[in-house]
């Protein structure tokens, strides 16, 4: 057991750097993806003809293996193969793929009479979206975001195979050295990160939706 902690202390600097890199690579695409998914989800909700192709297309995107996407992206967007931007772009695509449907479904779940009331009170479209529809869709969107966050954390580690530094490197270097300790730490820290992100999203969502708990009280 002490071997594990000795190793961690010896490599604290590097592990911390990898942890941060991993966090950034997972979180930045999550945020960009959310920002992109909001208008796309809103559009596919407003224009019913858009919904099926949009959800279908983004769903299809999700089935492309991540490694293939990491490798293919430099050819498509003209980046260097080791550039972390490849990872950010690829994970943004995955996040959008997950969240477009979530946002569309979340907005669709706003009750008809609430939407009608908002219109009748004199809300214009954008303000209605921001002040009424999105807040009510928060629980659904947050649920999708939690899935995307956890999925991003695990997808980032795949990028170790193309040499972008993050926690996944602990796996690859451990395998190369036939040394078990960094692999275990890699797994533990990935789980920890996934758990932390999940907790943060959960807390923010709870903070945004006091009304969902009031209903049961």
């Amino acid at each position: 057991m002490s071997e594990y902690f000795t190793w961690l202390l010896d490599n604290a600097g590097q592990v911390t750097a990898l942890f941060w890199a991993h966090t950034k690579l997972a979180v930045i695409p999550l945020l960009i993806g959310l920002v992109l998914a909001l208008p796309l989800g809103w559009a596919s909700r407003r224009i019913p003809r858009l919904y099926t192709p949009m959800v279908g297309l983004t769903g299809l995107l999700y089935t492309i293996p991540s490694l293939a996407l990491f490798v293919a992206l430099p050819g498509i967007i003209g980046t260097k193969i080791l550039d972390p931007v490849n990872v950010v772009v690829a994970l943004t695509l995955y996040t959008v793929a997950l969240l477009v449907r979530t946002v569309a479904d979340g907005l669709a779940a706003v009750p008809e009479d609430v939407q009608a009331a908002a219109t009748a009170m004199g809300y214009r479209r954008f303000r209605r979206l921001v002040a009424v529809e999105l807040p009510i869709a928060v629980p659904v969107i947050a649920a999708g975001l939690r899935v995307a966050a956890v999925s991003n954390v695990s997808l980032v580690s795949v990028a170790a195979l193309i040499g972008v530094p993050q926690l996944g490197q602990l796996f690859t270097s451990g395998f190369q050295l036939f040394y078990f300790v960094p692999i275990v730490w890699g797994v533990v820290l990935c789980l920890l990160l996934a758990f932390l992100l999940d907790a943060v999203i959960l807390l923010v969502a709870r903070w945004l939706t006091p009304w969902t708990r009031a209903a049961q009280a």
Binding site: P111, D113, V114, A116, A117, A118, T119, A120, M121, G122, Y123, R124, R127, V132, P135, I136, T209, P210, W211, A214, A215, A217
Partner: protein, 380 residues
Amino acid sequence: MIEFKSVTKRYPDGTVAVDALSLTAPTGQITVLVGPSGCGKTTSLRMINRMIELSSGQILIDGTDTAGQDAATLRRGIGYVIQHAGLFPHRTIVDNIATVPMLVGWGRTRARERAYELLERVGLDRRLARRYPAQLSGGQQQRVGVARALAVDPPILLMDEPFSAVDPIVREELQTELMRLQAELDKTIVFVTHDIDEAIRIGDQVAVMRQGGLLAQLAPPAELLAHPHDDFVADFVGRDRGYRALAFSNAQLPALREERTVRLGAALDGDRSGAGDDWLLVVDDAQRPQGWLDLRAGHRDAAADHLELGGTTACRDGSLRSLLDAALSSPAGRGVVIDDTGRLLGTVTAREVLALIEAERERPTSSAGSTEPLEKSTPG
């Protein structure tokens, strides 16, 4: 005043929801749109604040065509109470009520102040202010819906089946409350319902609509009950409309019989009991009826605790229905009629009231020279 001028709504799928509707909702009055489900009531209502655009025709508010105005601005000046309240679940009660004031830029403090004021106005406790809609009963939510619609004191109020989702007792409370509010506020109200009783109860005028968005009849409630324009309206207002109509018909009072009375608390001197008349009416010093005394019980005096208190009284200028109710509910079989100050005028028997009702039925009707009787058997 809201004027529909030959308004038609055809939905993209070809459904004609409203067909060449022309009617006027006068300022300061409650106009009720009533009719079976799907007859175009909601569509008509929503065309007023342009939540639904008309296919043809015009809607004028105080003479101005609504078509030329900015829809959102127009809506902020028209209160709307939606079916099932449609409160914003993510906002507290006070913030729900403050919605329109915030939209028109009152600022939070003033908007909330106004919201608290309205909360009381619609009969809700201030302590509910910080709750969320899901924590309120259906009836309370509906009141909040009304408060929200009244927030910037709009001259017009549109109400779409506002009370249909609550139980009958609460519904009646809410109706009474609305009429009380209306007496204070004098809004121009267009009220949609499928419930003819509700329409008759609260409407100053009632527009009966039929499938296809056609106006079957527009009339004050009494007129509608007394002279339905056709079989559809007659059917819709129902079999018991004869009894309902009595609530509106103030016939000539029958000759009242003079009633023997005794002062409250006075001693009885034994010889008052006459053949076939065992009841004596007790009045106070101002000749106001207090109750009936049963002479067979052998009381020595007309003390208050000997009185039979059951029975309603009818006012001289009341309706035939209140006369009939008074006669039927009296232990003596004679309905007590009083004047505006509550003083005894005399009594009537149910038989006399019924004779009056018969006479009323046979009287030629005023509208379009029709001689349709009040009670008409429904076909089938």
